[in-house]
Amino acid sequence: MAQDLWQLRRQKRMTIDELARSAGVHPALIKAYELGERSIPERDLERLANALELDVEDIKELSDPPPRGPSRTTAPSTQEEDAPARPRYDSTAPRYDSGSRYESGSRYGSDYGRSSYGNRSNDAPRYGEGRSGYGSGGEGRSSYGNEGRSSYGSEGRSSYGSEGRSSYGSEGRSSYGSEGRSSYGSEGRSSYGSEGRSSYGSEGRSSYGSEGRSSYGSEGRSSYGGGDYNRGYGDRSAPRYDNDRGARPMRPPYRQDRPDRPDRTDRRMDRPPKKPGGLKRRPQVAPARPSQLEHLKILLQQLDMSGDDLLRLAGKPLSMLNRKEASHLLTTCQEMIAERKPERPKGKRQRPYLPESVDEHELVYLTQVQLDNSPMHLTLFDGSTLVGTLQGFSPYALTLSINGGDEVTVQKLAIAFYQVTPAPEREEAAEHEAAPEHEAAPAATAEEEKS
């Protein structure tokens, strides 16, 4: 029948570290598997089974977390009476629950914080009472309500995944929540979150919040379950257990609201192994681009520079320049050309006048026509004509006075061409206008005579 991973590991008397090494699985992952926070993927299951010399079927894919000691209803209460005075936590302060920062680094935060070790039971002591919760206060001797060496329900040396001395808060004196050397499934010294001296809420020197020396993974050295992986709690700064904490907003429970993310450890392990070969080589500068060389030649021509001048300037022939040197030389040449060129007067038009971009010729012409009041003959797109004097114009239209009275505006788009009656003709026309009276009379006379 399949068993929990932690059970099997203990049966084999292996530490998490050892199992991690032999299976090639990161210890943090193993911890997660043991606590039932992750189900074991098939790949890791095989590895772990091999390391434990078991069949895959023997390991439960999703472990139940290991037990955490006897009921809290019995343990701590008796010890509180014997415990020396020590700073008390305000009972109104929040417990070390999920609001604490432990939760961010590990699941222990959430487990221990929120629930475990008596917090679930109504009469369990709180951290604010007496020395500690968790049945500590045993002055180093006990843990979890036990005396002396035992710990966590165990006797002295055994227990929770340890070898010999340590235990789940063990090694005689410490406990899970006691004086200091205890550890959580470690070998003697390492501890569940601390190194040596502290442990999870214990007496005197350290504790889960007491006296500030260390705590649950402080001092940067602790290891979560022993060994050397410090990144669990160890890298984090010690939590603050001040009373002001009650005023702070509580964080959401660890991982409850977080979306699942791929474990970095997995990704790291999926990476192909690094190639041996050492340091990256610094890339060499590429030779100059052909376009750079062409540009340089043009600039050198503009500067009237010979090959010798170039050699003096660049220090080497063009063909031997690299990209960076060519770029530098280009900049130098451009600066030299800019120095040679006289500055253009400001405000003067830089672009050439192009017939299709100028409309001033017609404007000047029409202005003159308007001033002369010369009659204009417009021929429109349909062949019709219009005669009048120019009264006004715009880029798109002309306004004529027809017969000295009506004004007509003609769009230029409708005009094919126009002609201005020249001044002499105009004079002749004026003369012609005056003459008809004289000419008409004789003509009429002549007609009359004929008739």
């Binding site: 100028v358 010729h361 788009l413 061409f417 020249p422």
Partner: protein, 135 residues
Amino acid sequence: MSTGDYLRYLRAVKGGPTPQDVEEATGVKAGDYRQMEQRYRAMGSEEELASLAAYYQVPAEELISRVPWTRKALSAALVEAVEQDAPIRLELRSGHTLTGKVQWSDLGSALLLQEDGRELVVQRHMVERWQIGEA
């Protein structure tokens, strides 16, 4: 008359749809039609011109044949005529044919000095074909 001028004329005749309307109706890429009307150089592929000709209900050849006769080409011819001091022959859309020496030319018009000494201002958008050196 260049293709652009002719397209503008056709659009006016059709009742003045916007360039966007024309583009939507003909499938010409957005913004291209306006360019075809306004740019001085040749614009538009034959397919686009054919679809535009169908839209305006004119023979496609009417549009395609105008492609080489751009406003820019007319400018070049007018400048050349001035430089050569040669008369230029202009065929207008109205059916007139005018000949004279170019006195000046600009964005919208050109002044021709005719043989009889009369000045004539020709609107460039009416010019369909031209020839230099033809008296």
